[in-house]
Amino acid sequence: MTEPLSFESSRPDAPGPRLPAAAVSAPGPLDLLPKEARRATPPGLPRLSEPEIMRHYSRLASMNYSISEQFYPLGSCTMKYNPVANEAAAAMPGFAGLHPYQPEKTAQGALELMWRLEQALCAVVGVERVTLQPAAGAHGEWTALRMIQAYQHSRGEHRDEVLVPDSAHGTNPASAALSGFKVVEVKSGSDGRLHLADLASKLSPKTAALMLTNPNTLGLFEREILDIANLVHEIGAMLYYDGANLNAFMGICRPGDMGFDAVHMNLHKTFTTPHGGGGPGAGPVGVKAELVPFLPAPTVERSNGHFSLDFKRPQSIGRVRSFYGNFGMLVRAYTYIVAMGGDGLTQASKDAVLSANYLRTLVAEDLHMAHDGPCMHEFVASAEQLSHDGVRALDIAKALLDRDFYAPTIYFPLVVPEAIMVEPTETENKATLDAFAKAIKEIVAEARANPQAIHEEPRKLPVGRLDDVAAARRINTYLLGRSDDPVLRWKPPGRAPVEAPV
């Protein structure tokens, strides 16, 4: 099944929506704006009636896999059930209709919610304060590094290196570079954990911070975390926690207690706000006392039962986004935390770890595990032993799609060849985990018996494997000016390319 683009279905005579008339006697744009200020050519937007639009999007929706219908074992992404109560809470007019520039005394409920959410997140990760401004995980990482940088500058220190493990998410080095740091890679040892001697050899007075994910991206707890923290702090650097894998820890242990100075959290992973096909998320950052003065402004403060925004923070790094963050996502996360409570969050993390170990045990019958267990909330298998048959991790992923499972994360972390990273989360029942393991068993057996066939999967989806190499070549031809088809957007056939006037 394919669906035409809205542009392709567009009809010049399609009736548009009925909209209010101005109903005031006032001049219009033609009367007041000079020609050079007005738009010369109307935008080429599609013309479709409402029934056609609704069917178009319903058909597109049916072409997606989603947690609502499929098991989504995407490692490091914590694809758990998104409670529908969260959606109802965020849609309440008292939240959705709130203007960010309303007087604070008319937004007390919103400010209280933010204050309470901050308290709850502080309790979960063990920090002093939390900023809710960052819009996503990577945004949070960068915000934390800027705070660390500002703190060190305030002490007259100019440290320009950030250490990142070779198993880290790509956002870590990218966020460090965006803050002006040089990135130094630290190796993982053969057990998949950070190599302490390598870390020690790379720490120097130039080191501003070590960015660490715990459990790491292999799903393993960094057993030597206290020694790591000591080494980092002894040299005067700070320890940064990438919260991608926080779902293993709630109520079990806290990054703050491990010695982390700054901690980012993904509300769209651990705290069930939906991922939306790629956002919006929210990436709050928690900090220990010495970093508090550098938090982005404004912060939310409480005094005598009244809540206010504090803009007067002289040492603040400033603002990292407009207004107060992705407030609608904060409402969802807060609703989840209230419903779960301390007892529920603790059980959620325990179940996440239990489910991962259970699934790991089942899958280990058919796929090689990258490291010894137990794992935390996720595990990494490898498809390397199938490679002599020409079967790769990608093939396993595509074959899973045909069996109505979304695929695990593949080829990450980079330190495991043919990596298959599975994170089941606490909201998948045992029957689903069993079915997934059975599917892996069948796929591996079929791949061994008939390796050629698996290259043709998926067969049951709207499209088969797409040739992204050919697409990249076409884009390149366009970017070099040798073609008028941008590939990155639709263009009516035969229409002259949109070019800026010279």
Partner: protein, 430 residues
């Protein structure tokens, strides 16, 4: 407990399969000294109690009706067709992840491809990305593009850019060692001239002059635009701007106390490789069927790591979907109608406000679209008086710009019907 699925029997049987006695056996890697006794949070509540608590917080916020809201400053009340929420609340869209497996994500990918095309059409530029967080970070990302492209270390901000966008731009720029200067005269160090059209006060600026000045100095021109206004006001591509950015909240998104909304960024062909974030392109499968894939990933953090054009990973896909539904619902005529009605209502209001004793237009020589600055006699008292009558009056911009003493910006859209304007005037005249 809500949202958990295992029974006690399930847990016991899973532990047995793993071959351990208890949950603690799975947590052996965590040093004992780090194990938490208990999470310091109250126990959970039933859904009924949870929602009662959350509703009580919502009830402590004062909700100004759309039609009686005349405050903008970057977030606007507009009519949102029911179609928007009907689409974005489809779980197939809102509970999917970033489309890493294209065959199982064609819905999201095609929707993004359509969004990219819609934004490219609106801005009259060649290519748009899949979305950014908000207007503020979009401005900052555009400045980074200009810095990388021109290898120059300074950006120039001309006129009244949204003060919060300015703040974010400064914080981003400091990290990369880029200087942010205010002014309209670029020189050989200038990577880009950044301007907002209409500006933060709602006034039209000389975008052609600024663009020409930028290009003469070898700098890029970055236009921060209001997407609705583009139905009537010249789009960046028509006056030669290199990059267009903006905030898409007006395209079908609720105010939500400032977010989540959606940033957009579009550019000329020559700059496409510098774009931050996701890009979707069309491709074919072995049977020649068209599909959509994430494209030009070699710019991105998961491939390029510290050499990436940006650190962005999660963007604002679902908000971009809302914007696509909104624009498609409106079509070219509907969007023009919305912009035209807003323009006329705002001009009718400006004319009436200008007749109040002691009130006058600030910068009366400059044209505006649907937001405009008035110089008023005691702004705080006036706004309090309106609030007492349930009206969210204009925005006192002196808070950010000391030189704009007594200046309040008012905005009008299609939701501020003529009787709402009469109500506002009635209170101010009394």
């Amino acid at each position: 407990m809500p949202y958990l699925v295992h029974s006690a029997e399930d847990r016991a049987s899973m532990l047995a399969t793993i071959g351990v006695k208890s949950m603690d056996d799975l947590l052996v890697d965590i040093p004992e000294s780090l194990r938490l006794k208990a999470l310091n949070l109250p126990d959970g509540l039933s859904e009924f109690e949870t929602m009662a608590h959350v509703s009580s917080l919502a009830a402590q916020n004062r909700l100004y009706p759309d039609r009686l809201t005349f405050r903008g400053g970057g977030v606007y009340r507009r009519f949102i067709p029911a179609a928007v929420a009907a689409v974005t609340s489809k779980p197939e869209f809102y509970t999917a992840y970033t489309p890493y497996q294209p065959e199982a994500s064609q819905g999201t990918l095609q929707a993004i491809y359509e969004f990219q095309t819609l934004i490219a059409e609106l801005t009259a530029l060649d290519v748009s990305n899949a979305s950014l967080y908000d207007g503020a970070t979009a401005v900052a990302e555009a400045a980074m593009m200009a810095h990388i492209h021109t290898e120059r270390n300074e950006v120039l901000v001309a006129g009244y850019l949204h003060p919060e966008y300015m703040d974010v731009l400064r914080v981003f720029s400091e990290g990369r060692g880029i200087k942010v200067r205010k002014g309209s005269e670029p020189n050989a160090k200038t990577a880009a001239v950044i301007f907002q059209q209409p500006d933060f006060l709602g006034l039209l600026v000389d975008v052609r002059g600024l663009t020409e000045a930028a290009h003469r100095a070898g700098a890029l021109a970055i236009a921060c635009v209001d997407p609705i206004s583009l139905a009537i006001v010249a789009p960046p591509g028509e006056y030669g701007a290199d990059i267009a950015v903006g905030e898409g909240q007006q395209l079908g998104l609720q105010p939500s106390y400032g977010g989540p909304h959606v940033g957009f960024i579009a550019c000329r062909r020559e700059l496409v490789r510098r774009l931050p974030g996701r890009l979707v392109g069309s491709a074919e499968d072995a049977l020649g069927r068209r599909g959509f894939v994430l494209a030009l990933a070699a710019r991105e953090q998961h491939i390029r790591r510290e050499k990436a054009t940006s650190n962005i990973c999660t963007n604002h896909s679902l908000c971009a979907l809302a914007a696509s539904v909104y624009i498609t619902y409106m079509g070219p005529d509907g969007l023009h109608q919305i912009a035209d009605v807003s323009f006329r209502r705002a001009h009718a209001l400006a004319e009436r406000l200008g007749r109040l004793p002691g009130w006058e237009r600030a910068f009366p020589e400059r044209e505006f679209v649907s937001e405009f600055p008035m110089r008023v006699p005691n702004a705080p008292a006036m706004l309090r008086k309106l609030a007492r009558k349930g009206i969210l009056g204009g925005l006192n911009v002196q808070r950010w710009f000391r030189e704009l003493k007594g200046v309040v910006t008012f905005t009008c859209t299609e939701v501020n019907d003529p009787s709402a304007i009469d109500e506002l005037m009635g209170v101010l005249e009394s």
